[in-house]
Symmetry: C2
Subunit: 212 residues, 2 copies
Amino acid sequence: MDLSKQVATLEFWFEFASTYSYVAAMRIEALCRASNVPLVWRPFLLGPIFELQGWNDSHYNLNPRRGAYMWRDLERLCAKFGLPWQKPSVFPRATILPARIAIANVAQPWIGEFVRRTYVANFGEDRDIGTREVESEILAALDLDPEPILENALAAANKPLLRDATQRAVAMGICGAPNCVVGDELFWGEETLEDAIAWALPGNGEAAKFRA
Amino acid sequence: MDLSKQVATLEFWFEFASTYSYVAAMRIEALCRASNVPLVWRPFLLGPIFELQGWNDSHYNLNPRRGAYMWRDLERLCAKFGLPWQKPSVFPRATILPARIAIANVAQPWIGEFVRRTYVANFGEDRDIGTREVESEILAALDLDPEPILENALAAANKPLLRDATQRAVAMGICGAPNCVVGDELFWGEETLEDAIAWALPGNGEAAKFRA
């Protein structure tokens, strides 16, 4: 079997509190589908990654020049891609609850829609996605029964999943979010989606150029 | 006169020591020409901008995780765009000399080629672009007489130009390099060139979407 002719899987590593992850999360499933690249959703927590870099908060809060640019850039990117945008009144929001729901359900057919609705609640509607109330509403809107999903997400047995994912992110050299991971290759930033997809397609001209 | 139908000028703000500026500087003139967007080269120094953010070195050196990602990303971007790449043995290099040559000659027909050759010397050939020797060689290769250009660049009368440019960069909220500036709009990063050009073209579909 010629592995160079195989399509690689694209892992999308995201954090629900991350603004640039929002823009990317809204686009990644459609882009992968259009290129027949298998997508795996990989929720993780940025907090421990920021701590490794000596930060106790988002660097957008710690560095006001950087923050000012990011807020304008997000507004512009959302206009460009036709995404709802409302600057959240709390940033970054606590995202353990939606991250635990997501990681316990990455193989469910509703995972993509759950991720997108949670992001829109945070960055398009300024809602507190860290609460059972908001998450229940999102799950119910997907015609799911929220209670068993919330109980399962919050169960002790589910706790190691998110911790392990975050440790794997550290080991892979992840510095922020979002990231696409294709094989050993890490692509960081909302602007890298197309390059990551090209990397996953071995017969693709861009991927061939990358490898040259 | 309907200003909304005018093409805006694109200012390209760059620092010769900046890796992502290299990738962008190699592409910006051809991209602008293809869209009939007037281009103005704006050299500046990142040092004072980094100091404002509390850094006494490139954040790629101060933050090894961030640095490791950047070096791999640069290698990959250079392969993607067909640019020469050799990781420089000194980073960041002192760039006052080429920045002063550039700022004294932004209106010369050879400015674009001078900028590109200086970048290739730094990031494609690992040469010390802060030296008269290397800069003389680059100017001579452009069929110019290096000595009067170097003398003029180093003259006291030229010193305020670079300082003023850097102060203007601070005032505009610039955090790093490269940047495209179109009117009051700041686009940061090598990946923003196309968006900045779209912004400069009022009749363009993307620009219209941005403004929606």
